[in-house]
């Protein structure tokens, strides 16, 4: 069994990470009723002797004594991390896993990337190395961060660079929370575009998540809850809406949104953790979904979503779950994959679903989805037999789709609007090691990325003949 390490950077990253650890613990508690420290648990948790704190050696096999998350928490202010340390999750972290400062990055990518990146470089590398040394077979780093702020985007992408430098063989999957258009941070377009360049060049896969999509999904769930005939009876042990275990004990405004992202991470790793008749390992994601190295932005959708929240909504049929996964409303970014071009698509199914169900639904949906000419049958599937807590089955669809382009185009426009006026530029150039070239390079990186998607998108609907085959002279 392989292990993964979660690196959560910045306020947003830590909040999402916190939800992830909560849900992961509950999922394992649900599956693993005997309290045995098993292989599945080991992928994200260490089992240690509580008397030694986190510093002692791992206990393999046997009963769970004290679980420690395979995580590194980085933030340049203390607020969120301190909250975590005072909350119910304090047991799974210890102080050696934390890297904090007091003053924050002031929503400035350059401060996060350069100033803190250089100052904390050693400490970050050491902390990650310690976590890695506890792993038997380290397969993947999950980096969680936001694109708008200073610490998440700046220090987050710097951490990404460090991971590549130190562990070039280990897969890096980044979950990036993109700001809404009405973001209150005025420099967020700068931060996002500067971070984008790093993501394009150094990540293996990026799972972009837009704040606005999360807001919409949460609204929809709440709507379903409140419009239900029996009022708002929330199923207690479903993962998405429950606030149990959150940092302050009561549900906070962002928790519902963060739960969705946390679920994304749980589902993407489910097949690597639990048994199934068609395993899908983490390194298969990049292999199957990334045809060209830079085009590694994967649009994700989780279904069923709001039906999870309420017992009153009749459980949807299995096929609806598949249909929903391709609808605009269920995507975690503001995009419509059905009307763009698919380069590849993966379906990660959990629960009591058979191959024949998968095949039926793929056959059913295929005609409605435009696929690139050379990958008409670009489907990857995984079957994990353990469903998420509270459900019989669930589906995570990951698509490499040109529909990410509008998000990038819009980001670019916002960036250009600021950049044309050179607004706030001096805050960045002020930082040692940052020159204007950084901005133009980041912009051209984004522009060429958009062009690459554009070119592929342009082939949509065109009838492309098969490439002429090799001829064998008889």
């Amino acid at each position: 069994m392989t292990q993964s390490i979660v690196v959560q950077v910045g306020q947003c990253g830590n909040q999402v990470g916190c939800r992830f650890w909560d849900l992961a613990l509950r999922e394992h508690a649900h599956v693993n009723k005997k309290g045995i420290y098993d292989e599945a648990l080991s992928s994200f948790f260490r089992n240690v002797d509580p008397r030694n704190g986190g510093g002692g050696p791992d206990i393999t096999g046997g009963r769970i004594t004290s679980l420690k998350a395979r995580a590194v928490l980085v933030d340049m202010e203390e607020g969120v991390v301190n909250e975590i340390l005072q909350g119910p999750l304090r047991e799974v972290f210890d102080s050696t896993q934390l890297i904090t400062d007091v003053s924050g990055s002031g929503n400035n990518w350059a401060v996060g990337y350069q100033t803190y990146g250089s100052a904390y470089r050693e400490q970050i590398v050491d902390t990650v190395r310690r976590a890695a040394e506890h792993c038997d077979c380290l397969q993947c780093f999950f980096l969680i961060h936001s694109m708008g702020g200073g610490t998440g985007s700046g220090l987050g992408t710097r951490v990404l660079n460090l991971l590549e430098e130190e562990y070039p063989e280990v897969c890096r999957i980044v979950t990036s929370i993109y700001p809404s258009a009405q973001d209150d941070v005025i420099t967020s377009p700068y931060n996002s575009v500067l971070a984008m360049r790093e993501l394009t060049e150094h990540a293996d896969c990026v799972l972009p998540v837009e704040n606005q999509s999360l807001v919409d999904i949460v609204k929809k769930i709440q709507h379903m809850v409140h419009s239900g005939k029996m009022g708002s009876v929330i199923k207690k042990d479903t993962t998405i809406t429950s606030g149990q275990g959150c940092v302050s004990g009561t549900e906070k405004p962002f928790d519902a949104m963060n739960n969705i992202v946390a679920n994304l991470l749980l589902n993407i790793t489910s097949s690597a953790r639990f048994e199934g008749s068609l395993n899908m390992d983490l390194n298969e994601i990049g292999m199957n979904l990334v045809p060209f190295p830079r085009l590694h932005y994967l649009v994700s959708s989780l279904t069923p979503l709001y039906t999870l929240a309420d017992v009153n909504v009749p459980s949807r049929r299995l096929d609806q779950m598949f249909t929903d996964a391709f609808s605009k409303e269920h995507q975690l970014i503001q995009a419509d994959p059905k009307h763009s071009l698919y380069l590849a698509c993966a379906l990660m199914v959990r629960g009591n679903v058979q191959v024949s169900d998968l095949r039926r639904n793929i056959e059913r949906l295929r005609p409605t989805l435009p696929f690139v000419s050379w990958n008409k049958e670009g489907w990857k599937t995984g079957l994990c037999s353990v469903p998420p807590v509270g459900h019989t089955h669930s589906l995570l669809a990951l698509a490499n789709n040109t529909c990410v382009k509008p998000t990038f185009v819009e980001l670019k426009e916002r960036f250009v609007r600021l950049y044309r006026r050179k607004a706030h530029l001096h805050h960045y150039l002020h930082v040692e090691g940052i020159e204007q070239a950084c901005f133009s390079d980041a912009l051209s990186s984004l522009t060429s990325l958009i062009e690459e998607y554009e070119q592929l998108d342009a082939t949509k609907g065109r009838l492309i003949p098969d490439a002429p085959r090799l001829n064998i002279a008889l």
């Binding site: 002429p468 090799l470 001829n471 064998i472 002279a473």
Partner: protein
Amino acid sequence: MRHAKSVKVKEVITALCKLLSALGIDSVPSAESFRRAKFNQADVTEELWKFLHSILMKVCVMECTYQDSAQSNLDSQSLFVRSALWHCGYGAEWVLEPKAGSLRVCVGSRDLLLAFGWILSSGNPLEFLLEEKAQQLERLSRSALDHMHLLGDGDSQVDVSGTGEGGSKPINGEMQLRTLQWQYGKLKLHWRRLLAAQEERSRLTHRILSSPAPLPETSSTDSSHKTCSTALHKELEQIQSLNATLEAYLNWKSLEPLFWSWMDSVIDNDVSRLDEDAVADVSQRDQGIKRSCSHAEKSREAVKQLNEMVQLLEAELRLGQTQQPDHSLSTQGRHQAQHLTSDRERTEVERRVTTRLQGLRLTNGRYPLPSRAYIPCLQDSQPAYSAHKPQKVESGQVRLTGKLQALDVLRDLKEREALLQWKLELLRQTQREELQDHASTLEGLVLIPPLKR
């Protein structure tokens, strides 16, 4: 010191005697007889005549059956020995120009010992006999194996001619080629199956041999099992006897140099006798050698002829190869199909080629070797002993001298072939490069080299 040496010599000769009797030679003299022969003692002459007769009978397989009745007659035996030695090109005086009177009277035991040394040193009679022996065992054990159904296979007789009933079908060259390839593949698969059977056999015998306790009684009363065990027992005995022979051979091989140094001393003795003899004899002897040389001349001519033939065949082969670069296997068949319309003509040519080739013994072994497990590696590079069998006189009898030449010529030919192959490859390479150059100038054309097989 001297004593130790003589003891050693005795040991060496004993080893040789042991090996010879293991190889099935009758009337092998004792080591003492050898020693006495060295000093030309008359009392061992008869013994040595018998011995030479016996060994020459084995080594030179006669085409016409030798009269059994004459065997008892020592005179005719000695006559046979003389003519056999003459056939093999032994140039001693008594062989070429026998004096009047009975051979047995005028030839001393040392002469016979020297003749034996000559037989031993020309060709590889011991190896030849060893191979014979091994193959004899092989045949025997194979029949035993068949009996045991271990092989479970009787279809080895593949229709190699490739035509079969297909003669009535319209078969073109391409198809014939494929048929041949199919048949060839089948033969190869059969060979590998036999190999597996052989391995099993050796494993089982090893287990029987190495098991310290007697084998547990098989619970089955099945009669086939019983025959199995007797068959195995027989085979075991055969293998043990082969083992003994091989051991004797190995022992001899390790001592062989000593034997030859002893043989040198015999020659020295002989030479000292010659010194005593009249010098006049020498010219006579030279004549005799010349005559024997003329005999060699004939064989040299035959070798030359054969070489020409080989060259011709190779040239044709190469021609065929250039026509069909990938299917070298079929060239011959194809060539025949083109040029030899009549079946009779073809079989005639085939027969001729086979006999010629057999004369040369270019291939190693007369039987398709089913296994290497028991057959010791008998010096692949050397042509087998039968090259100078008298029966081959009409097809190009090759004596020792001639044979060495044939080897040289063969080696030359091989070298030339390799050179030509290399040139051909070079030509091919340049052709390919040219083609690639051409292809690269043409839009949308990908050049694919032919598939390697």
